[in-house]
Symmetry: C2
Amino acid sequence: MANDWVIDRRDSSEESKGMNNRVIVLGGDGFCGWPTSLYLSRQGYDITIVDNLSRRCIDNELGASSLTPIASVDRRLTKWKELTGKKIEFVHIDVSVNYQRLLDLIKDKKPKAIVHFAEQRAAPYSMKSPSHKIYTVDNNLNATHNMLCAIVESGLDIAVVHLGTMGVYGYGAAGTEIPEGYLDVKVDVDGEHKDLKIMYPASPGSIYHMTKTQDALFFLFYAKNDGVRITDLHQGIVWGTNTEETCMHEDLINRFDYDGDYGTVLNRFLMQSVVDHPITVHGKGGQTRAFIHIRDTVRCIELAIKHPPQKGDQVKIFNQTTETHRVIDLAKLVAKETGARIRYYINPRNEAPVNELKVRNESFLALGLQPTTLENGLLKEVIDVAKKYKDNCNLSKIVCTSRWRSDIPEDLEGSSEPE
Amino acid sequence: MANDWVIDRRDSSEESKGMNNRVIVLGGDGFCGWPTSLYLSRQGYDITIVDNLSRRCIDNELGASSLTPIASVDRRLTKWKELTGKKIEFVHIDVSVNYQRLLDLIKDKKPKAIVHFAEQRAAPYSMKSPSHKIYTVDNNLNATHNMLCAIVESGLDIAVVHLGTMGVYGYGAAGTEIPEGYLDVKVDVDGEHKDLKIMYPASPGSIYHMTKTQDALFFLFYAKNDGVRITDLHQGIVWGTNTEETCMHEDLINRFDYDGDYGTVLNRFLMQSVVDHPITVHGKGGQTRAFIHIRDTVRCIELAIKHPPQKGDQVKIFNQTTETHRVIDLAKLVAKETGARIRYYINPRNEAPVNELKVRNESFLALGLQPTTLENGLLKEVIDVAKKYKDNCNLSKIVCTSRWRSDIPEDLEGSSEPE
């Protein structure tokens, strides 16, 4: 794009600002945030977790807790200190609401980076009702904006690492292999073709995904106007539950969501096989999705912290995903491994029944990521976790109840169709 | 774009829904909302104004009221009824906060259209301080989303007309004549060029403009997922102050902002000439801007109400502007007409010092709009209004005090440079 901004390239070397090795993890008690916090702590970063514990509250609302018995934050951190000698701080702030406390914390801690997981992250939950739509919009947008605004007000040069989603691309609307954030196009200017690099056209598939496309515009603006150094990670669907660190003791165990709102597709299928529930395929399962194992998520976050953009650069966008699969193929894989039965449900989402998806992910590979793919034998680990804790499962919460539109039948079981 | 959504093209004929001629105007007490409400009322629409009166509160905050003495809402509406026999309703709701009251009103009134002006609309105000940034984001995004969510929950087929801004285009980043919302590009797919129509790449110039680019993503999603029929008007800078209707009595007069936050460039220059203040040119005045007279704004709104998109269509985007001018040329025009002196100030904005701007606006012209340009003699009308009420001017509020970044000098008078 034409550079219609005046960028201030002030010195951003860490020494000149008296920076330390502190990283603030917003949403550090959640499914991705918690294993990331432990991993970064083990790598030698000083970690401050900021969380409003909303995910635990939503467990109460939905009546479907994590399958794994997650310990209180206090117990988690005490055990971590006991096992590793490393202290992780916890500060209870709702960053979507309490700007001043967030600002004070940032000024006090002077972190080198802030990792931002503090958003409502389930598409079905975001479509559940008008109040869930409103909550997701209000929470996610204000959380992201408060963080950016506080960084600018602090005057500190803090790198931002944000968890986004592959879903912002709308599963390949341009028909190309999906690039990492930016698309090369040609535009006709006075009869001549001019080359432009544009942000990949957004095509959100739910209220949740929409907020992530709106986050991208916050990042665009704050990078350009204020020189904030931002990395936006377009993450695939996470599978797996534990990392080396969360395996160290049951008090450190990560959450495992199996319900129709928060459970992610592969984990759900594996868990369903354990409790003798049919595998819940939406539509005919023609959807192709991008995936990443939770062990790779935490490594990617550290790589992003280590390789931030320079002041004045555009937003750095990585596709944080290691492989793509069609949903029906995953269902068949799980059925073959476990003997579970596949059942076809009406798709509660408003989406194409079949899509192709090719994704570029060179950036993380170039930085040394060794992908943990489905073939690495970790499916069994998920099954073992599910087996161990299956008595915690509320069977009535397995089938999705959210619907994208009111004209989609409430009972998704209506269309069970054998293949 | 590839159609990756399943669009529901249900019958949207007005008769089938028992619709009436009611239009709800969100923000109907403001600078554009008020004359629009009167104009639509006179054209025979039944008008319900919804407003939280925030603009009047901000007058108090800034210590710079409208130059024209605006009457209370009650007095305005009483006088309108007296003069025309037409009743305009007023409901005091903050639509960014009170979703339920908005929903109840929509269900009760069953309007054929909602016109949405209920956003904080000044770029300098949005950049004034962290709390102004946060207010603008929170207010604008929640207001737009609450409206869309309530329309869907109501189950009614209501057309939306939203006041956007030319500023979302970032003054021509693609180098082309600016199209109406969508840009034709070619993308390389497996060695072949594929034609795509994409939303024009957003390039917001302030927090305020950013919220309008984020609004566009709300519209994209709700049009696709729920079939909401939306027209987004990318409006140029409004000049002029009165319309035929607001001229009918002083109790109906429209606001006239002259201060550094809310005053728009041409109106400010004209008013400055009246109070013997130098004309405040930012930088060297090389910025080219798009303009529209307030009398055309109100006509455009009615045209948009009369020609909504069909259910299932993409968002209809019109460039609501009639001419473009370079700021320095306007300053010289006003100086020539009035004898005022030009003074150059440090530009508080972060923008290119010079830009070209060519804008396409065929859509409104095709619908019959007869542009009211600078040549139509209405400059004098603005000067007359300014002269009549110049004693209401707080001279200390004329120079802009907002700055886009903290490294821009607080005193913008530092760089006065004669040409």
